[in-house]
Amino acid sequence: MTQGLRTSRRCSGDAGPTDSTELHREALPNNKALFGGYFHGVPPLKHMESQEEKPVIYTMENKPIVTCAGDQSLFTSLYTSLAQQLPREPMEWRRTYGRAPKMIHLEANFVQFKEELLPKEGNKALLTFPFLHIYWTDCCDTETYKSSVKEDMMRWQNTLRSHSSADWVIIVVETNDTKKKNKPNILPRSSIVDKIRSDFCNKQNDRCVVLSDPLKDSSRSLESWNSLLLKLRTLLLMSFTKNLGRFEDDMRTLREKRTQPGWSFCEYFMVQEELAFVFEMLQQFEDALVQYDELDALFTQYVLNFGAGDTANWLGSFCAPVRNWSGLLLRRPIDMEKRDSIQRGEASLLDLRSYLFSRQCTLLIFLQRPWEVTQRALELLHNCVQELRLLEVSVIDGALDCWVFLSCLEVLHRIEGCCDQAQLAANCSHTVGLWAYATDKLKSLGELCGLVSKNGPTSEDLNRTVDLLAGLGDERPETVNSLQSPYKKLKEALSSVEAFERHYLELSHAAMEMYQAIGRLRSARLVGKSLAEFYMRKGDPERAETFLQEALKSYVSEGWSLPVTHTRKQIAECQKLLGRTEDYLQTSALLAGDVNLSTEERKHFCQEILTFAGRSGNQSHKVTLSMNVFAQLTRLQFHPAAASVHSGAVLQVELTLRCLMPVSVRIQQLAASIHFDIDHGGTLKRSKGTLRNANQGTIEFKQGNSSAGPPSSAAAGPALEMDEIQDRSPSDNSLNSVGVVCKNTHLIIRRRENGSPPETSNCVSPPAVAMKEGGQMLKVQNVTLEPGNNSITFTAPSGQPGTYMLRQLCATMGEVQFVLSHIYPSVRYEVYSQEPQLTVEPLSEPLLAGMPQLVKFTLLTGHYTVKKGDALQLSNTETMPILPSSSCTARISSPEAELVGESVLSIQSSEKVTSISLPPTPPYHVLEFQLEVLCIIPSGSERPANERLTNGEVRHRPRSYSHPDTPMTAIDQRMSIDCPWSIYSTLLALTFYIPFKTKHSLLSAGNRKYIQVCVQNVSDMNFTLADMKLTEKQHSSLELQSFNTKTNQLLCSKHSVFCLWEVRWKDDLPSCLQCVFSANFSPLNQDSSAFKPFHYQFQLERVTTLYSVRAEILPPAGEQHCRSGLVCELEVCITRLTEPSEGEVAEDSKTDTDGLKTTKLMYEVADSSSNWAVCGKSSGMVLMPLRVNATHKVQIEVMPLFAGHLPFPKIKVLKYLPHNAAAAIQPDPDSCVENDSLSLLDKALDDQGDTASIRSRGSVHSVGSSDQQQRGVAMPRLEPFSPGQVFNNSHSQQVLVLPTADDHIMEVNAT
């Protein structure tokens, strides 16, 4: 029968319409018949894949049924063209309920009309539903029509109507032959059609179609065919819409009744599936799939509701214990067995799910969505397991595992069947889940059946296996011949240990490879881990370890503490089995410190280490483990905090170790190895060290959390370590640049691989740690480390000066050594050796010269021990004597500035040397004492010859100089000290400041002379000045009469005191006076003993008054007073007061023709304040006889410019030196004064214009102005007199000037 159907399709070209009797059956059994034997004889082998594609053919097999009544032979003749042409053009199918319209190719299965074909009332079958009924006739004869055809049609119509089928059409075929044949009956052709229309199609004219000349190849025929086909398609679609719509409505109504007690899901299932079948038949797979999905969802909802306590009766059948777990069956398009059982309401949950999925799978493959199949399969399998649990269906152990395993493989086979290898490889991501799931299930099956144990299955296991195999039933016929069917695989795998291993490994590796291929490395590792567990059970720890390490690496790098702990525990087991002691101990150490484990477990692992450590040492080498897992160095503290001590001093290092072990651990030795570096920079280069240990000598070590903790901030990398850099100029130590450098760039700018945080403490395998032997060590014996923080103190070696760096830390415990291979950040301390150092500094600033001042001597002993009898030898200088003092105590203090002792110094002074004997002082102590010194103020310009010091060195005369910071004059006073520790003298300098500034001046009144001394106090102190005296050294006859009344004079800071003496002489006034001003001074309010002398030496030269100048202004003739604007006469009278001295005669006089000695003087009148205008000649030469009272008068015309009391214009008198005399003159050092006066003179001489020689000299002068030249050419010169030599009588004299009488202009000055 089915064969017939198929052939009818295959050979439709010639076979004609199918005998409709084949369809005369009840719909569903018919279906069964239709599908049941369909695959019969098709071997389900892989190479028959093309055959397996049959479902596609199958769906085409089913076509909507169209019945044909009337003239069968006529239909038969047209059948071929009709069947061929109907699907040729697609039609648009407009859908109800807003579903999108679809283009659809219509096909039909034409069968002969029989009444049995019409569905009976209540029959919901859709597949066998005739969608269209056609009546064929070629009747063109009215008579015939009336006699038989009409009647036949009536009967046909009635039958249809009785089944309320309105989908019919009458086709009237017209041929030319019949036309010809019936020509005599002159009835218009159309009349038959009209008749039929009027008889049957009231208002439905389209129900009658004419087909003209169907077998001819004419345009008319073609046109008529097309319209017929269009009509048929339209009608078919109308029928679909109508009938399917009605069906869907019925279905919905049925669904709405689902809350009613008698409702059965299975019944409803059948109904909706019918719809799915029809859609499938129409090749609307999407719609078909929707029907199944809806059923799926509905069922799922019921199960969930059941879980929530809402039980439906019909669900009872699904709760039956599972007896069969044969897995999915996807090789048949429709699994009729399961369908039957569903229909009978006997299906189990697995049956229903399997059936549903197989249908969905079929449709998805039609839709070419194989990857959705795999995804849905995984969901289905998970879901089924859950649902069975939820429904509390009783299943024997392992049955579900079998079912899932078989199903996974079945799905995979199905997918492999419809895809090529390349496609499969590219879509691993879709299938890998199934592979992994199958692997998982097989593994648990293996464990259940005792196939993974070392000893093989027990009899109990075997019984279980037999039970499981029984539930598989017989192999399905489709796969009987397949060698690799899931069924066979499972059976084989469960049959023996070896077969199981083979299958399991195959699956595992397949899954891992796929995971790796698609980059799901974590998943791959998890499979690997599960494989490792398998190997462990099989007693093959070696292979297991590889996988475990791999997995551990991943967990560690991503900071997953729980998996890390768990995996590590497994590794420990492996390593123990493998006898890899070192690794095992390392892992044990990690686990012992792992907070994720219980205390018991931790203790166990700790004990493992202790046991090994306690073993008698027959092994040649100790086992070295990383310290980080055992204890962490958290803090290191130096005492003293500076971490810099002098050699031989005690330096303690305190370590804080956080012990991670759960119990207290006794350690035989804890040692820190030290790297020693000899310091090159000598003794005091400590800046680096002090900078490093800026935080009080404490170094905190940052650690990752406990061994398995998350890397936390380690992800951000190590902390930046910054240092300050100062770049200073080597010459003057000024700052060139300042910067900040990062010291650990190599750690921070390290490339991170895979973005994983750098975590080394959790290393999977212990890092290669080696304890570097040799060198110095800090050692502590027998320490007990308690869990948590422990403080351990070492005494650091400090023998040799240099830098000591702590490199490694090593805890030895019997046969086990824990080594911290690198202490980071690096820890160093410095031991320095210091030379003794002596400094002298003022006790108070500034040191004042002339008064006793205290200076502080500080001796840093350094490495030198001051012994009894050691003394400092100070070379005495007379400018700075050391004042003996009765009680001079020295303080000795330790480097920490604690006072150690005090003792009285004995100071012995001899003529040349002051010896200070020092008290015994230990090294690296500070010895301090104070001495009083006096710096003698140098008194003026006295310059003694260089002296030699006792030690032969040239004595440096203290030189006074002015200091920019203070108005006081500074004196650097050097000291030379011989120290017992050195063969060289130590030279030290002290700066003293002279508190006074002294000036002197010579005052004259005619012939009388006065000397004034001004003492200015430039210091910040107030002084008392006493016993001011002025003495002349050379001339005893000279008397200096003091005008100073007070003996004691207060001299405040920044104030001055003036003293005055008159010089009196008896015979002759010496031209040169050597004077010494002396006074005593003391700071204010101190007793007289504190007075110290102060001397000021000066020299006065050319003291004697030679000339007196008297000026007089005479009003113009006839006037009583001068008037402004009127020329007056200035009369200057120059008088010689003294006899010429011998020097003067030789110097610049010449003998006149009459034997009289004369000298030339130059006078000049200049008014600097512009009160006067000099009219005519303002300067001139005077020839002066060298005798007493020789007088010369000069008249000069001057004009006052203003009215009032005007000071006289200034009159200068200068020595004029003729050129021949020039060479003899002692050149004045201050040549620039001379130049000035010359240029002044030049200007004046210009007006005069009578002395050509002067003029010419002036021009020469303008050419070259150097002394040399002038001296060489021996030009005439002018030389000023010393201040005392010319006395101006009319100095600061004034004259009354009246305003002009007829002053037109009134000048008003308003201020």
Binding site: A308, R520, E558, G559, S561, P563, P757
Partner: protein
């Protein structure tokens, strides 16, 4: 009592926050979630390719297993949130999970706003803990 487990990972995939109720079987959760990171990464990189989807932070169901459902969510800064629930817990649908994630994201933002919180450190905020606890009581 259903299990529910909530985890957050840094962009480098180490855990920032792990909370699971009840706490037994936590190890299995961890293994499951660690594996699911594969899928998260796959999805995140897939999202990166199509710019249109970048707004969607919710990654949906990542990794169905027989026992658990694993849902994922990734913030713009590539911090990943994962919620694991029992497969049998049918009360938590997609929408509920989605809103849980949104709530979590909000409180995570608050945590990040704390100037004393150093991004990348494990989250120890009490406020955050409280919100998570509330969420778990509600749903569990």
């Amino acid at each position: 009592m259903f299990h529910i487990c909530l985890l957050m990972f840094s962009p480098q995939n180490y855990p920032l926050y792990i909370r699971s109720v009840p706490s037994q079987n936590e190890l299995k959760f961890h293994y499951t979630v660690h594996t699911s990171l594969d899928v998260v990464e796959e999805k995140v990189s897939a999202v990166g390719k199509s710019l249109a989807d970048q707004r969607e932070l919710y990654l949906g169901l990542l990794y169905p297993t027989e026992d658990y459902k694993v849902y994922g969510y990734v913030t713009n800064s590539k911090v990943k949130f994962v919620i694991v629930v029992d497969s049998s817990n049918t009360s938590l649908r997609d929408n509920e999970i989605r809103s849980m994630f949104r709530k979590l994201h909000n409180s995570f933002t608050d945590v990040m706003c704390n100037p004393f919180y150093n991004p990348g450190d494990p989250i120890q905020s009490k406020a955050f803990n409280g919100i998570v606890s509330g969420m778990m009581v509600q749903t569990g």
